[in-house]
């Protein structure tokens, strides 16, 4: 066999042996994962995938914004519900800090006596129905905002209650306390003999308010007769 032919044979053997090698020899080390990790960072991104990442980024930003806003709102609600005390002047001072500036209360009556007679107000509803604070105004208030109807309804209710009290009071007998009675007994016969004027002379005058205090009316007890001086001027919470 010529040398060149034998060389050719040898070359063929080597070539097929090397090309057939599909596993790593013992002393050769190849870190496939590391190489891929480095390679994958250099790979050009798919065109679609760039858009996908852009959309994903926008979506994430939207979610974060929504979450932040919701959290902010819930914090506000919590802070308001914590202060669910009777509606007093002091509570107004507190509310001043809690109520967002955006909510402007145009007309709020802040008379202390009226405020104290208010039933406990849930502060959750203050934001929504803040106009209720003007409930005790016996005369209609000229309101410029859409809450006018509410005010009028409530004030009308008050007037009705007052009328009820006024109508009911003359029908009732005046109450005379025992210590105010004179020694002689007033029998029904003697009483009949006495005229009304004489009886008035015998029975000392009593305070009308006291007699009226004893009267129990179906109307709410806090709607009472001592007409408190009305406050014509109105102030806002922020002014207070």
């Amino acid at each position: 066999m010529p040398t060149s032919m034998s060389q050719l044979m040898q070359d063929k053997i080597i070539q097929s042996a090397i090309e057939g090698l599909e596993h790593l020899p013992a002393d050769i080390h190849f870190n496939s994962h590391k190489t891929w990790a480095e390679l994958s960072t250099q790979l050009p991104l798919k065109k679609g995938s760039v858009k996908y990442w852009q959309y994903a980024a926008v979506f994430i930003v939207l979610i974060l914004t929504t979450f932040f806003l919701l959290e902010h709102k819930s914090e506000q609600k919590q802070s308001i519900s914590k202060s669910s005390q009777p509606y007093k002047k002091s509570s107004i001072e507190e509310l001043k800090t809690i109520i967002p500036e955006k909510i402007q209360l145009r007309e709020v009556v802040t008379h202390s006596s009226q405020m104290k007679k208010e039933p406990p107000v849930n502060t959750d509803s203050i934001l929504k129905d803040i106009v209720i604070t003007s409930v005790e105004v016996p005369t209609p208030i000229e309101a410029t905002d859409p809450t006018t109807s509410t005010i009028q309804q409530v004030s009308e209710t008050n007037q009705t209650a007052i009328l009820t009290v006024q109508k009911a009071s003359p029908k009732k007998y005046r109450i005379v306390h025992l210590n105010e009675l004179t020694p002689f007994s007033i029998s029904t016969e003697e009483a009949k003999m006495l005229s009304k004027n004489e009886l008035k002379k015998i029975i000392p005058k009593t305070d009308l308010s006291e007699t009226q205090d004893a009267v129990e009316l179906p109307a709410k007890q806090f709607l009472f007769f001592k007409k408190t001086p009305l406050i014509n001027h109105t102030i806002t919470i922020s002014d207070n």
């Binding site: 066999m1 080597i14 057939g20 090698l21 190849f30 870190n31 190489t35 995938s49």
Partner: protein, 183 residues
């Protein structure tokens, strides 16, 4: 999955397909790089560069057969390695000498295992093994090798003869070592 489908997916720059292609050929192509380069780390770097080139220039490749695609990838890897060798000026190719024909001892190579042949090739100096690899395994002619390595035709031949001689010596030594150990 068929290779043609995988290639099409890689052309669409789908990362899963790219990873599959990598897993399929990484070891084989790494061994090519390792035949040309001195260390495993260098070979890994060249494999990385080669795969990057494959992915980026895949749109230029027209699929005909699986073997054609594998040959295309191998060629890219070899070129990457040669570029790297040129950069590092690793060729210490001697001046043109008279190329002596190496007398082949019959059947000496066929007695070796594949791993042993690989180890012998990688143990040769860079200049010898580059020419040997290009001529014997890759199948380039001396003229092509001369063009690629920017050497003369004669230098390529002499380098190949020296490589063959060295390989025979290495095999002889290995056989002697084996026979001594056997006794």
């Amino acid at each position: 999955m068929e290779l043609s489908v995988l290639i099409n997916d890689c052309k669409k720059a789908e990362i899963i397909a790219q990873k599959k292609l990598y897993d399929l050929f990484a070891v084989r192509l790494f061994l090519i790089c390792r035949r040309y380069l001195k260390t495993d780390v260098e070979a890994e770097d060249m494999l990385q560069n080669g795969f990057l080139k494959i992915y980026t220039s895949l749109h230029t490749f027209r699929y005909t057969t699986d073997n054609a695609f594998i040959a295309w990838m191998k060629k890219i890897m070899v070129n990457e390695c040669l570029q790297e060798l040129r950069k590092k000026n690793n060729f210490f190719l001697v001046a043109e000498e008279t190329a002596h024909e190496i007398v082949e001892e019959n059947g000496i190579i066929s007695q070796l295992s594949t791993e042993e042949i690989f180890r012998l090739i990688t143990s040769m100096p860079i200049g010898y093994r580059t020419v040997f690899n290009l001529y014997v395994i890759e199948g380039y002619s001396h003229q092509e090798i001369a063009d690629i390595l920017q050497i003369t035709n004669g230098t390529s031949k002499s380098q190949l003869n020296k490589a063959r001689k060295m390989l025979q010596d290495l095999i002889k030594n290995a056989n002697q070592y084996v026979s001594v150990n056997a006794r």
